[in-house]
């Protein structure tokens, strides 16, 4: 089957943070950026708004960083689930994530990793500009090619260089 992910085109993100509110409400019935699995990073003086969310890495650094093997891939959607019984709250997953897309439950310290709402991400449904979409990466790249856009500055989320020895 086609693995889909939440793709990000930050060049059209209006920075409203409705995705954050939708996420925390859909999963925890509260409104809080702390309880959201998606975050908008902002550079206000330059007008930049960048949604930060799990990119469904093929070989997830977070999974490899986990000493307890608590991060498990769901075979249906490809999303990562955290087994809270196994998780010891060590935070290594968030530190290793190349997309800085992991946050932590404020009271328990367990990681919050986007679970794609099990196949129908609520944040995507509420996004007013189409900056985040639920699609395959090939669809995303094809659209950018079609529109003549350079994907590097805007999509999908900015990643950083993997620290040396991160795999071990």
């Amino acid at each position: 089957m086609l693995i889909k992910q939440i793709t990000v085109d930050s060049s059209i993100c209006c920075g409203c943070r409705a995705c954050e509110m939708t996420c925390s409400f859909a999963h925890f019935e509260v409104f809080s950026t702390e309880w959201a699995r998606i975050r908008i990073a902002k550079d206000e003086l330059r007008g930049l708004d960048v949604p930060m969310v799990c990119q469904q890495c093929a070989h997830p650094a977070c999974q490899r960083a986990c000493p307890e093997n608590a991060i498990i891939r769901n075979p249906q959607t490809g999303h990562l689930d955290v087994d809270s019984d196994l998780c010891i709250g060590c935070k290594r997953c968030g530190v290793r994530c190349p997309h800085l897309a992991i946050t932590y439950v404020p009271d328990s310290g367990h990681p919050l990793i986007c679970n794609l709402c099990h196949g129908a991400p609520e944040c995507v449904l509420r996004c007013p500009t189409g900056a985040i979409r639920y699609e395959s990466i090939n669809q995303f790249l094809a659209r950018l090619r079609f529109l003549g856009l350079d994907p590097t500055p805007s999509g999908t989320t900015p990643s950083r260089t993997q620290p040396e020895g991160a795999d071990t």
Binding site: C14, G15, C16, A18, M21, E44, G47
Partner: protein, 632 residues
């Protein structure tokens, strides 16, 4: 469990702070935000308090919908106004209000005056007064950057003043997210008078609602209504500048300082042109799924490279049609300069336009001013903004606002200050928009449309006009019939919307949140069982408390007037549908007072009305004028 509010009181003189509980009955009778701010304004700031002295208080308020999924929430800030001496109150969108809610506060009251320049940093329950000497004189953009760098937190939200406020410009605003501004009535001037450069706020607490399921259903219903609204697409594409061409077509776009309602160069400075040539992407306030703000850049010409967020219609119209400037880039630079200096663009533009008209009439010349006052001169516009912000030369005169400046120039100049009660009139022409004009007359904060926003008069829906306001004529902006009833209804509605602290563009102009929906939203949030009628009465109560505050300062019917130009000079023939119109002030005021239950002679509430609204405590105030008993 009762739904109470949390109030943070900061005594700047003694660097002390404490938290108080706002009892549930107050939350229910005043709803929050503007309503609660007005309650506190009336009861905590005595008559004749010096607006820029330590006894004035600056009150920030959030509503129950701040920090939720509701599309587009705001914050309110109130004090006695240094511009009008009356109700000072302004609200702004952006992200500051939501952050205040995440920090767990419903109201923040600033009292006294700090001996040293400080900025306030609130992180949840922790309050710090941090030294701000290094921030003095910094513009709004730099202040945002420097505070975020100092606190090492890009997500901290900042409400700050720029150099205009620090230099005592009376119409300085409080700026958040660079351009989202509580601009009117000089709230920035009050903050700076307390020696406070900024209030930085950060919250980590979740906001909960009492009935999540019902709340979500309501939000979805409102969003669907907005998305299906005929104005949705143009609002998202153009934002409020869409009004520039539509008001011009109506002959009601304030041009050449109210000498006409038609601006021939409107297409050169329109929202459509901005969308085609300047706009880069949408920007938005907190959680808003109908984003109407825009990030722009100037791509060519001498101002190439200027970028930022906006503009909104009022400053855009003010720095183009009002001052007769057809160069869009100059207007964008002027607006950007107001934003960086931290002052109300509308008030600044009125001061400039007034001088230009006085020059045209030979009442105050370019030689008097020391700058060329011919219409639309771009250098003059930009130079005067610099002089105003720093109170230099002629700018010192203008920095007190058009009304006070005209009074100092002399009695011959005063009829050309376009203000009501000291606050400059907006970019809509009162002769062509009579409901809006009446709204200016009676607004507690002076010549401004946001107290009433009676957009229904633009609808043309005669059947609905007959049903709701007793006459089909009310549905057309050039008629005076029914406007008293119309303005009363919309004032009550806007008071409720401001008290929930949500955006009037969507809630009122797009009719997203009528009284019934407002009650349902509030109930889903709190578990209360308020009805639409309870909310309408709350709105009425808030309007009457504001009137009471103004009455204590000496306001009555004699002050509820527009400048005489609107009553005596018909709009010229190029104004299309509005040509030939004058403003029928007294007949509309009579209808308004009667609908409100206020006396015809003074425009004051009666004792029986105050009793009906649970406002008996106002009568016992020794500074309150003696009012009639009225019919119960």
């Amino acid at each position: 469990m009762p739904v109470t509010g949390r109030l943070l009181r900061i005594d700047l003189s003694h660097a002390a702070h404490r938290s108080e509980t706002i009892p549930e009955h107050l939350m229910q009778t005043y709803l929050g935000s503007r309503g609660l701010n007005m309650y506190r304004l009336y009861h905590e700031i005595p008559a004749q308090t010096d607006p820029l002295g330590p006894d004035n208080k600056l009150i920030f308020g959030t509503g129950r919908l701040d920090g939720t999924l509701y599309p587009g929430t705001r914050f309110n800030v109130s004090a006695r106004s240094p511009q009008t001496g009356l109700v000072g109150d302004s609200n702004a969108g952006g992200f500051w209000g939501a952050e205040m809610r995440f920090a767990g506060w419903d109201q923040i009251v600033l009292e006294g005056r700090s001996p040293e320049p400080v900025f306030i940093y609130i992180e949840d329950d922790q309050v710090q007064l941090r030294p701000a000497k290094h921030l003095q004189g910094q513009d709004v953009w730099n202040t945002h950057r420097l505070i975020r760098e100092e606190l090492a937190d890009p997500d901290v939200q900042i409400a700050c003043v720029g150099p205009a406020a620090e230099n005592g410009v009376r119409f300085a605003g409080i700026f958040t997210n660079l351009v989202r501004t509580a601009a009117r009535t000089g709230m920035g001037t009050v903050l700076a008078s307390k020696n406070v450069k900024a209030v930085a706020i950060r919250g980590h607490q979740p906001v909960r609602v009492s009935d999540p399921k019902a709340f979500l259903t309501l939000i979805q219903k409102i969003e669907k209504h907005l998305q299906q609204h005929p104005e949705f697409a143009s609002r998202k594409l153009l934002g409020t500048p869409r009004l520039l061409t539509s008001l011009n077509a109506l002959g009601a776009l304030v041009t050449r300082h109210f000498q006409t309602g038609h601006f021939p160069a409107a297409d050169k400075v329109s929202g459509e042109r901005l969308a085609a040539e300047y706009n880069i992407k949408n920007k938005s306030c907190f959680a808003c799924t109908a984003p109407c703000s825009r990030w722009f850049m100037i791509h060519d010409g001498p101002h190439k490279g200027l970028y930022g967020e906006g503009p909104e219609f009022e400053p855009l119209g003010a720095f183009t049609a009002r001052v007769d400037n057809d160069d869009l880039d100059v207007a964008m630079v002027a607006i950007d300069r107001c934003n960086r200096y931290g002052m109300d663009a509308l008030a600044a533009a009125e001061a400039i336009a007034m001088l230009m008209e006085l020059n045209q009439r030979g009442l105050f010349t370019s030689e008097d001013a020391g700058v060329d006052l011919s219409w639309g001169n771009p250098d003059t516009i930009l130079t005067l903004l610099d002089l105003m912000a720093y109170r230099q030369g002629i700018g010192d005169l203008l920095a007190d606002g058009a009304a006070k400046a005209a009074a100092r120039i002399g009695p011959h100049a005063e009829p050309y200050a376009m203000h009501v009660k000291g606050l400059e009139i907006i970019q809509g022409e009162p002769r062509g928009l009579k409901g809006y004009g009446l709204g200016h007359c009676v607004a507690s904060r002076g010549g401004d449309h946001l107290r009433a926003e009676p957009f229904f008069e633009l609808s043309g829906d005669e059947a609905e006009g007959q049903r709701r306001f007793g006459t089909p004529k009310v549905a057309h902006p050039g008629n005076y019939e029914g406007k008293g009833k119309l303005v009363k209804y919309f004032e009550d509605w806007c008071a409720v919307i401001d008290s929930l602290n949500i955006c009037k563009n969507t809630a009122v102009c797009m009719e997203g949140v009528p009284f019934e929906t407002a009650a349902a939203l509030l109930n889903a949030t709190t578990g209360w069982t308020l009805t639409a009628s309870d909310l309408q009465i709350a709105g009425e109560r808030i309007i009457n408390v504001e009137r009471a505050f103004c009455m204590r300062e000496g306001i009555s019917r004699k002050d509820d007037r527009l400048p005489s130009r609107f009553l005596n000079e018909p709009l010229p023939k190029e104004c299309g549908p509005s040509a030939g119109l004058v403003f029928e002030q007294d007949i509309m005021l009579d209808e308004y007072y009667q609908t409100r239950g206020w006396t015809r002679e003074q425009g004051w509430p009666t004792r029986s009305l105050l009793r009906r609204l649970d406002l008996m405590e106002i009568e016992s105030d020794p500074d309150f004028p003696n009012i009639e008993e009225g019919l119960s």
